[in-house]
Symmetry: C2
Subunit: 870 residues, 2 copies
């Protein structure tokens, strides 16, 4: 078993073994790019470390040291050698990127002798003792688990004593003394001397990186991102290069294309006289890559060439780290770059057009959730004009959000739990803030550039972010921020424009996103590939229009009850519900009929010859009842009864478990006149459209069916009503009658119900509620289930394949046995969830239906499902 690989022995396809960073370093070495040499200790070594009870086996230690010897040969340098010392970085690198989650140690290989030998000039002395004191602090912290605070205090005290602001002003002498002080503090805290033996340093550093695989924040990150616990991390041991060595040294990060919008132009930032960590930490605000083009044209040109080479090689946009030591460029990392949804889409489309990747590959490059984020609204232009600007920062992650400001993770989490949109405001973010960023609608930081922690994470999770607002003063402890003399306290409302970097006071209205040409092109590719039909849930012509724009192939769910909530209609429906006789009820329904018919006409006119599924009245009737006393009074007057009497009747309609009460088709069974009215409205509306030459396709959907007899009772009622109207008008409407499958019983009896139903729509919201015996409105306790690892996902977000999914499979099979051509689909929340859509594809449904804004998401998910199935 081989546990250690020289970079020259690896390649990009070995990421499982060498980690992403190691595999790509190897690949770059073999491509002949300027990469400091080194070797990688494998993920298998990490896993063995854990199975061996957190001890590195002797044979692996030996293999590491053997490779160290080889590295000495390759570089011509020797560890611990005062003349020509080999200095090393030790970095983690797991198969799946977990940025900032694990530990790193730099400058390894320094000890008293080496430092002294190198400190031949003033410059060298300053540099080497700066490096040495950093090593001591990092080693104490990472290897020995000691807090950095006391080291930082020593540094601070020295600055104060000398009356200076930054470390750059410290002299070589200062650095030397700091190194001595750090060594003393190390001894005090660790209770042993800082190790002078370089091999000891190396083995301990590797151990520390292995250990950091299991630190708390890494575990949380893996849980959040569904990363397996068993992957392990590799450790990359690499010759140090110094971006902080001389005036012509620098360090930076670059993307081969713009990760915010996908523009094909080198993009990034750099810091002069700095080490890579300084950029990521966001301590100093770096310069943009344009400054490099101006100030270091040769380096810029070399970097740009390498960038293009790597992009072609990897067939994807690259995120690179580089360092320039004494004017020479070194590549330290390359990987597929994180990008905004907009960039993901634009890059995928342009890479297809450049011939770099196929359409199918492009479709797999953009996640359905990204598509959804592209439909993010932007601020309403008029409103923006009126809004007052607080400050401007960097456009770190796009979006337009308003919310209340919070200065710590806990508060933003609490706000989110109470459905209050929160904006997390921090001086800079770190790994500890990820959960809060996830719960916030937006993130605002004082420090940090476009590639700072805040920016990278926010883009990754699609959160709006403005970073680097350097003229804000944030007091995290006392929970306020100052913009000039203006103070904003916790809970104050602000708005962030993540595309421009502007921060506004108060809440700003938003408008919907427009679809770009690239977006349309991309969706058209997805449509060519997908098998599932994608329909939309829409109750108004406006929503139907939006759905069509987004590519819907019909309406999968029109909730007729939503049409009843307008002032006129709600009064009529209240009269209907509280009617004292069938006559009174009929008279109220007669009032509703023309209104409802007009609603349907509007939908049909919009959808033309596409199928429109109309669900009959579904919710418990008491949802429509008056709540305010003025509403009750109005109704009491109409019925000529006392308010008390009406209140009593309203109270009588209240149910213990309305979700399982008098709702769905149970309403139409008890009050058939409702179904008759709805059928009349549909058929009349359809006739009107037919006469205008529109080939309407209404499909009537019966909700909450539990039994064939129940379905039949209503189907016969519908057919009779429709027949009468059609006979009278001498035109046939090609309507269908189908049902929701939303209680377990109808899934189990799908073979019976399929004998009469022409289509099924799985109502997975209710089906999930009934299958779990879990009311969505009362599921607050599910948080405990996630925390305890009992449930992994919210079953209301992603279909519970094991339980609810099994019922869907059973129902589909039973139905198709009886009626192979029956159309099967789903409507409800799951119809817009990518994972659920893929499940629907897999079990052979014909369509999914979701809200108009999710239609493009569903189209892409359906396409991906189809590609994954190939």
């Amino acid at each position: 078993m081989k546990y250690v690989y020289l970079f020259s022995e690896g390649n990009k396809d070995m990421r499982e073994l060498l980690g992403g960073k190691g595999a790509n370093l190897a690949e770059m070495i073999n491509m002949g790019l300027p990469v400091p040499n080194g070797f990688t200790v494998t993920t298998e070594a990490c896993n063995k470390y854990y199975t061996d009870n957190e001890i590195i086996a002797d044979d692996i230690k030996k293999e590491i040291l053997d490779n160290l010897t080889k590295l000495e040969e390759i570089t011509g340098k020797k560890i611990g050698n005062a003349e020509n010392p080999l200095l090393l970085s030790v970095r983690s690198g797991s198969p799946v990127s977990m940025p900032g989650m694990m530990d790193t140690i730099l400058n390894l290989g320094l000890n008293d002798d080496v430092a002294k030998a190198i400190a031949t000039s003033e410059d060298n002395m300053r540099f080497i003792y700066d490096s040495y004191r950093r090593l001591i602090m990092m080693y104490a912290n990472v290897v020995k688990g000691v807090d950095k605070d006391e080291f930082e205090t020593i540094l601070l005290n020295r600055r104060r004593a000398k009356g200076i602001q930054t470390d750059l002003e410290l002299t070589a002498e200062d650095m030397y003394e700091l190194a001595i002080d750090f060594k003393k503090l190390y001894k005090k805290l660790v209770k042993s001397e800082f190790p002078q033996d370089i091999e000891t340093q190396l083995i301990e550093a590797v151990t520390a990186v292995f250990r950091s695989w299991n630190n708390d924040r890494a575990k949380v990150y893996r849980q959040m991102n569904n990363i397996s616990e068993t992957l392990g991390t590799a450790v990359n041991v690499q010759e140090m290069v110094y971006g902080n060595l001389t005036d012509d040294s620098l360090t930076g990060v670059a993307f081969s294309r713009n990760p915010a919008n996908g523009e094909d132009k080198l993009y990034g930032e750099f810091l002069e006289k700095a080490q890579g960590e300084d950029i990521v930490a966001g301590v100093r605000t770096p310069k943009s890559i344009e400054a490099m083009e101006r100030d270091y044209p040769n380096i810029y040109s070399e970097l740009k060439d390498i960038s293009k080479l790597l992009e072609k090689h990897y067939k994807d946009m690259q995120d690179m780290e580089f360092t320039v030591e004494k004017g020479k460029l070194y590549m330290l990392q390359t990987r597929s770059g994180k990008r905004t949804p907009l960039a993901a889409l634009n890059i995928a489309v342009s890479e297809v057009e450049e011939g770099l990747i196929t359409k199918e590959e492009a479709l797999m490059r953009v996640s359905p959730e990204n598509i959804s984020e592209l439909l993010h609204p932007t601020f309403n232009e008029e409103s923006v004009k009126k809004a007052s600007v607080i400050t401007k920062g960097l456009p770190a992650s796009p979006g337009a959000v308003s919310g209340k400001i919070y200065f710590d993770v806990e508060s933003v989490k609490e706000a989110s739990n109470n459905n209050i949109p929160g904006i997390l405001v921090r001086n800079e973010t770190s790994a500890e803030d990820i959960e809060g960023m996830n719960k916030a609608v937006g993130v605002l930081t004082v420090r940090g550039g476009m590639t700072s922690h805040a920016a990278v994470v926010a883009r990754g999770i699609g959160r709006c972010c403005v970073s680097g607002c350097e003229n804000l003063v944030v007091d995290e402890e006392n929970k306020y921020m100052m913009a000039g003399s203006k103070k904003y306290n916790e809970g104050d409302e602000i708005s962030l424009d993540g595309t421009s970097g502007t921060v506004y006071e108060g809440v700003i209205e938003t408008t919907d996103a427009n679809l770009t040409d690239n977006f349309k092109k991309f969706l058209s590719w997805a449509k060519e590939v997908k098998k599932l039909k994608v329909k939309a849930n829409a109750d108004t012509p406006k929503d139907a229009k939006k759905a069509l724009e987004f590519g819907a192939e019909g309406l999968g769910l029109c909730r007729t009850e939503h049409m009843f909530f307008e002032k006129d209609k709600i009064f009529a429906i209240r009269k209907m519900i509280l009617a004292r006789s069938q006559e009174e009820r009929q008279s109220a329904l007669n009032e509703l009929l023309p209104m409802q018919q007009k609603d349907f006409e509007g939908l049909f006119m919009e959808m033309k010859d596409l199928p429109v599924i109309i669900r009959y009245l579904d919710p418990p009737l008491h949802e429509f009842l008056p709540k305010t006393s003025s509403e009750i009074d109005e109704l009491a007057k109409y019925f000529k009864v006392s308010t008390e009497e009406l209140e009593k009747e309203i109270a009588d309609l209240k149910e213990v478990n309305p979700m399982m009460g008098h709702r769905g088709c149970r309403l139409a069974v008890t009050y058939p006149e409702i179904a008759i009215m709805q059928t009349t409205a549909i058929i009349n509306a359809a006739l009107k459209c037919l006469k205008k030459g529109i080939d309407v396709k209404p499909e009537i959907m019966i909700p909450l069916t539990t039994d064939l007899k129940e379905f039949n009772y209503l189907k016969e009622l519908i057919d009779k009503t429709a027949e009468e109207i059609m006979t009278k008008h001498k035109i046939k409407v090609a309507y269908k009658v189908g049902t929701m499958i939303e209680v377990p019983r109808s899934a189990i009896l799908a073979n019976e119900i399929a004998t009469k139903a022409e289509f099924f729509s799985f109502g997975t919201n209710d089906l999930t509620q009934m299958t779990f015996g879990l009311s969505r409105d009362d599921a607050r306790f599910l948080n405990t289930y996630y925390e305890k690892g009992i449930f992994k996902n919210d079953p209301f977000k992603t279909i519970d394949k094991n339980g609810v999914g099994k019922l869907m499979i059973v129902a589909s099979k039973l139905a198709r046995q009886i009626k192979p051509e029956i159309e099967l689909g789903i409507c409800g929340e799951h119809g817009g969830d990518a994972e659920s859509i893929k499940f629907c594809h897999k079990i052979g449904l014909n369509y999914v239906s979701c809200s108009p804004y999710r239609v493009p998401v569903a189209i892409l998910a359906a396409a991906q499902a189809s590609l994954e199935g190939r």
Copy 2:
């Protein structure tokens, strides 16, 4: 195809074809008993009548008339012949008895000529014109569908004109004139003459009987009694004999044993100078059979012999109709006799002891529901002593009930729907009252004997009934009754003792029934035969004791929440629910622990070495919360918060759909300390009993499990808690951990859950709710579903085999695949329902559990299931 059978061509096994009455008349003829001769038109003729659009085909008409000729030959009489006329009765008789539901015509064969010819003496004249005018009225009513009222008015007017009280006082001349008047009225109402042609009379009468198969009350009766619509009725055409002919003529009904208590003694009543209909109608109160023994010893003796002969022949207690014409006994009907539950049991046991039937046959003779009624409570002796008697009537159907009085069916139905026990008070009942009797807790009538409509129906449906309270005056229209000068209005409370016939004022406390030796013997036979174990649901030692007395083989469900409703405990549990911290919650649980432990000790001590299934806390927590303001104040004081604050917290706990909310094992997952407390209480209690030498078998049941991980989380918690206690005490308790299967998901995933669960109990109440998506508390609308024939049975009473049952089968199979020895049972309402128990037997469950009072019912149902499966 033969559509008509002479009695001599039939036998008792042909009831499908000849109907019950026809088959038994044939059997008696062939046994050589004195039966007026006749023939039967088959049920197939009836069904053909309906398929032929309600016309009797010519060939069937011919067959009827051919048999009429044969009957003339057999009897030596001729129809329409003035000298020796053959007079006929035409009666319905379906394969399943539907007493009083269909039509009958008597005295058929009379016309002007025949009547005139017979009227040779004063007596004959009175008799024959009485018969003739009855025929005319009955024919008008039954064949021509004319109301009887105007005929009755003519009769009434004549009585008034002559100043007499009863028809008996009318003279021969009166009868003659009445017959003439009736004929005139007939012509006026029917618009044609009363038919003088006897063959026409006969064919029309047969048609009328066929038609009456489908009258409304017959349809309702069939629906209520689950009788198939396709059986059809036969028609029995039989020579008339007259109980009203001479002074030594009489008519009566008799049971071969006492139908109230099963005593082996001829039982019945008779009316002198009357026709059979007069008894059933309850117009005159008849004499008891003892009077016959005294007044007509020869007839009594012959009847008694025939009764014994029939009982031996049919191997069952017989219900007979007989008529004595001029001193000669004729048998008109025999059939298996309806009996009270007590009689059913006693007869079955004594028939086994007499060697008449086997134990297995006996077990099939008593319905499980009968067994339940045997456990009816009786009035508390002390309370009865204090109660004031209103009146005394006949003990028509046993039971002891209190309720509010109502004088019409609608009111008693409405009361029942509002859970108000109602007593239906009527002068006499008729078929129209059946639904009201069904909804009442008891029935009280002024007229009618032990075999009146009221008595027969009440016994049949197990309703308490006192009949023949002749000194009550009931005004049905004005809704009151008078007992002497005392007036009782609608809604006043009375009590009925159906065993003694006493009627009391007000409500009287009841005490539980005692088990007779016959009862115990019968149950012991059932236990020998049954395969299913029968356990009980009991939460207190008192209930557990009752369950043991009734034969329970363990406790299948102890609902721990029921233990919490006592004053001390409810306060502690409220503290637990509203605790602000885990510490506060723990402290409340510490208070509950010793109380709960004592509860379990009591149960274990009672149940000894029988298994006791304890279900962990199940209902939504807010069910325990204080409701009155004084309770809230008390709790607010304890928590040192304001009442308003506490009220807000209580309101926060309220759920939209509590049935699917934070309940069941979800409570223990969020508050593990509850499960730890309950486990501690169980194990501690078990240890105490073990130390006393009792081999306790506690089984811990987790409610509302949806997922294996959820079950495991709790099982591990339980095992850990138990292990710690057992280690400390150095004794092992042989406890088990299982789960309810009450949400569809756990049924679908039974194979996963069975890997860890040691037993399953199907919680069919909840499983039914979730499978149908139907809240039991909100299922008022189901009445519409029954009315419209969409649902046949209440799925909460009898398991929905098609839906819920299918899930149970799936779950059982999945579980047994994984763990063949897993114990499967059900608890909840269905566990005490005979049909559901039979289903449980059929799908191979191991046990059912039901309330203590249903245990004997379940034992018998289980035995019957086992016998039916042989």
